[in-house]
């Protein structure tokens, strides 16, 4: 019983990360996805910032789901989200100023990130607090993962570095030999953002299609075997049995 309970909770989280990944599957929240992913560090920062807002707003929306009248629910959700975004903005400005300036205008724009509003409307407004928090966590992690991946590819191709960034006075990241002098600057430009996301999505589609074809083929073979078995059973009952064996021979 407890195992089942745990696995159903895990499913909520996993759903957001893989099967309905907000970026690659649902195609929501594209503006920050493309704008801040010039480096993996910025992508990760944006993802975590959005995750935090998503968890908090999901929790509060879920808590207030019986109090908020149906007619004004969207403005109410927007207000809740805007409050958390403002809090986050202040926190980042104080503690991680480098990230604050790197995210720039896209930080306040988390307010209109469709993922957050969509989860408030589609999940948190009809589910319990615990599940809503888990949903926020899963969706947020899926978003973070996608942003970090895009940022990683763009940073590697566009600047020739891996995960370069700084937190406070500590700097980290890797510069690959003299790769920066061969880097393709276009991947850091807006055009590169569109291109990278388009190609990553195509690769994911391709893998998805291959898996689907494989599954269909397996299912077809299984069906075939069942049919064959049924077929031979039918014949073994009757007199045609010998006939078939002759043909096979």
């Amino acid at each position: 019983m407890k195992g089942q309970f745990l696995s159903s909770k895990m499913d909520i989280v996993k759903n957001g990360i893989i099967s309905s990944n907000p970026t690659f599957r649902l195609v929501l929240g594209m503006c920050p996805t493309l704008a801040v992913t010039t480096s993996a560090f910025n992508g990760l920062g944006m993802g975590l910032a959005a995750t935090l807002v998503l968890i908090c707003s999901n929790a509060l929306v879920s808590l207030l789901r019986k109090v908020i009248p149906d007619k004004v629910r969207i403005p109410a959700y927007v207000l809740i989200i805007a409050t958390f975004v403002t809090m986050l903005e202040m926190l980042l400005k104080k503690f991680v100023p480098t990230l604050y300036s790197a995210l720039g205008i896209y930080l306040p724009l988390i307010v209109v990130n469709c993922i957050i509003l969509a989860r408030a409307e589609a999940f948190a407004s009809m589910n319990k607090v615990g599940d809503s928090i888990l949903d926020g966590l899963g969706m947020g992690l899926g978003f973070t993962l996608a942003l970090t991946l895009i940022g990683f590819v763009r940073e590697l191709l566009g600047a020739g570095t891996i995960f370069k960034g700084s937190l406070g006075s500590a700097e980290f990241g890797l510069t690959l030999g003299n790769l920066p002098s061969y880097s393709l600057g276009i991947f850091v430009l807006p055009a590169g953002g569109f291109l990278t996301l388009g190609i990553i999505m195509a690769i994911i589609n391709y893998i998805g299609q291959k898996n689907k074809e494989k599954r269909e083929k397996e299912e077809r073979e299984k069906l075939h075997k069942i049919l064959e078995a049924a077929h031979s059973n039918e014949f073994s009952d009757g007199e045609n049995n010998t006939n078939e064996e002759e043909v096979r021979a």
Partner: protein, 195 residues
């Protein structure tokens, strides 16, 4: 001359969609047909123009009261209310325009281009830095025009692409994103206009 530069910058050099990544969701979502794209574009121009004026005034009030940190909350509320009011006014006085804009009007509340232009108008993030009310208004309207140009172009391309044989994994969003990428490369060239 100064206004002319501002207009060119808002429409082409800092094109909202292709150079600043604002309003990508409607750009990808509502660009299947040119007429719906045009409807969305006109609605955006309209709301961005009006929102620019109001948020600029609100910002002055916030600064007077010393509560600038409430900017994001105040702006999103103003925009949501504005969209609602515009919808009601249009329905009452200009039903033809109302039906032409249709479902796109309420969608604009969550279009980050509108909140984006409001924040850019009054902040230091902006490349242009519109300082007066007239500049804010022009920036809003012509940024909206830039959005319309981009979404119309993409819709035209997508209409033709429907007839082409696109490799299966690229169908739908991937090929649209790659198209947008090539358009974005073209728009980078406008950067040279302002030197």
């Amino acid at each position: 001359m100064q206004y002319f530069l501002l207009i060119i910058a808002a429409m082409f050099v800092n094109n909202f969609v292709l150079c600043q990544f604002l309003g990508i969701c409607p750009f990808l979502g509502v660009s299947k047909k040119t007429d719906t794209a045009l409807g969305m574009g006109l609605a955006v121009i309209f709301v961005m123009g009006v929102a620019s004026i109001f948020t600029w005034l609100i910002q002055k009030l916030l600064v007077l009261a010393g509560i600038e940190y409430l900017q994001t909350i105040a702006f999103i509320l103003v925009i949501a209310a504005l969209v609602q009011i515009i919808e009601m006014v249009l329905k009452r006085f200009m039903p033809s325009l109302y039906s032409a804009l249709g479902v796109y009007l309420p969608l604009i509340t969550t279009n980050c281009a509108v909140l984006g232009v409001a924040i850019l108008n009054i902040s230091t993030y902006g490349v242009v830095g519109a300082t007066s009310l007239l500049q804010s208004f022009l920036n809003g309207v012509f940024s909206g025009a830039g959005f319309t140009i981009a979404i119309l172009l993409l819709a035209g391309i997508r209409e033709r692409m429907d007839l082409d044989l696109v490799p299966k994994p690229f169908r739908g969003f991937p090929i649209t994103l790659i198209t947008a990428s090539i358009m974005s490369m073209a728009f980078v060239a406008f950067g040279g206009l302002l030197g």
